[in-house]
């Protein structure tokens, strides 16, 4: 796994209602299934409402994580809504080694032109499309979670799906059909995320 002894930091960008916070929480749940890592998952909170740009964060480390301040220089950035690329928040604090994963129909190259960042570290997946095809509406957090799992590397997909399934069964106990749709979305994005 590419997560080593230092703390790996992840920043999620989305709009209120797209599930960035939920994705960060689900990612943390997946990571603890490995039994190898300590985690944190926390949202950036403000009086934002549906549609407003929001962020959520993860920390992952083999050592206990005691730090309780914000993430400034993330190792991974996950963007749930390509319209957010217009703001410079998405690239804020990026290191040259940081990887950025974007929900877009564009190519990595096209995105790199927009945000002036190394194409090789830009990964793209059409998560909105996947979400509409699997869940029936554009809630891109599940497919972006699948894409992140792939890019971070060495995280078992089946284990991840199981973890998410357990969590969602609890949350959507009155709507079990939502669970399968989301699991399919994760699997598809895991396969489809690319760097081109």
């Amino acid at each position: 796994m590419s997560i080593e002894h230092k703390i790996t930091e992840i920043r999620w960008h989305g709009r209120g209602g797209q599930g960035a916070k939920t994705a960060a929480l689900l990612f943390a749940e997946i990571i603890i299934q490995t039994g190898e890592y300590y985690i944190q998952a926390f949202p950036e909170y403000g009086p934002e409402r549906m549609g407003a740009p929001v962020q959520a964060f993860n920390r992952v480390s083999k050592n206990i994580i005691t730090i309780h301040s914000n993430i400034i220089n993330p190792d991974y950035v996950v963007v749930l809504d390509s319209s957010l690329l217009e703001s410079n928040q998405v690239t804020s604090g990026l290191k040259c080694t940081s990887k950025i994963i974007i929900n877009t129909a564009l190519s990595s190259y096209a995105v790199s032109m927009k945000i002036h960042f190394n194409k090789d570290n830009i990964y793209v997946v059409n998560a909105s499309n996947i979400s509409i095809e699997t869940v029936g509406k554009n809630i891109p957090n599940a497919p972006m979670l699948g894409a992140l799992i792939k890019i971070v590397g060495n995280i078992d997909l089946n284990m991840s799906l199981n973890s998410v399934k357990n969590k969602l069964l609890d949350k959507f106990r009155n709507k079990p059909e939502v669970v399968n749709g989301n699991l399919n979305a994760i699997s598809r994005a895991f396969q489809e995320v690319k760097n081109n």
Binding site: E29, E36, Y37, I39, I65, T66, S69, N70
Partner: protein, 401 residues
Amino acid sequence: MIRPLSSKGKLVAKTGNEIAAEAMRQIEPDVVAAYPITPATEIVQIFSQFVADGIVKSKYIAVESEHSAMSATIAASAAGVRAMTGTSSQGLCFMWEMLYIASGLRLPIVMVAVNRAISAPINIHCDHSDTMGARDSGWIQIYSESVQEVYDNIIQAVRIAEQTKLPVLVTMDGFIISHCMELVEVYNDDAVKSFIGEYTPERYLLDIKNPYTLGSLDLQNYYFEHKYQIAKAMIDAQTTIVNIANEFTKCFGRSYNLYEKYMMDDADMAIVIIGSAAGTVKMAINELRSQNIKIGLIKIRVYRPFPKDNIAIDLANIKSIAVLDRSDSCSGAFSPIYSDIVSSLYSEGITTPKIISYVYGLGGREITIEHIKNIYKTLNQIMLGKDQKDCSIVHYINLRK
């Protein structure tokens, strides 16, 4: 492989609010009366779902205000049952008069407070102004650094409250802990239930065979004695808290004390802090220690009763100390923790350490490792006896003056 410390535990990922609700599920108090307030709302939401699902036998009173939340909690406790509540910020302010009544009537209530700034201006983010304002209300106050500590502190609080007959406030930092998911070891239900035991009050209002009056008018000839009883109980509570912490360690593995010493054994400089930022300070100290800098941390866990005697001894040989308060007293003098530390040292006749005050993080203002490293620089200058450009005692971190 990360493993639970206890054979009775398993590792889960939970936020501070979720773990507070989880602890409450395991404690299963007879009555919970609460009113929602950001950022503590989730606690009562999750708990009322437990009630709605029949997972707990607790009764949930969806009161119409925090004043009534504390009133109903007090009443339920006086009636003879285990009663809990939770709140934050303005909610705690609205409870104010009832806080003193809870301790004055010696009711073993446990309350979870999620720290949040106080209006005006309105702000929903973390600082400690709310619970610091209640620091002399006769409540035991236990601050938590992490989600794990929130959980462990709430479980211990039930025992502490019932043994000391004092209400206990367990706090966590708003959003920073309340909404932060961390890896946390939860213990199995039976182990928690057996640790807290059954509640058997000596006197209770519903015991109609032994009727009595509670909440009487106490005039000049008795009020002072009753207040002294509370002050005395607060001092005696220190031993109780430590004993219960030791028992907790035996049951579940994690050790707790009135305060935590981090890298203090050979320290020349020290930072004193409370709450979640202690974790950030630990990271900074790790980095500084790797450069052979002898700096340590005292993280106060039990702020009331204030562990004045031991803390004074532990700080006696430190050359320079920075006390970090996440609240400002607006008194024209010093912030709460700073005042307590200085008084503790002075009352023990210890005047060697130079002590400076830092106010940080009001309204959720960020504090980072870099800020802590800057504090070290100042502490080092003071230790070396070098003149400071800013020689004032009170400093503000990350403030645009």
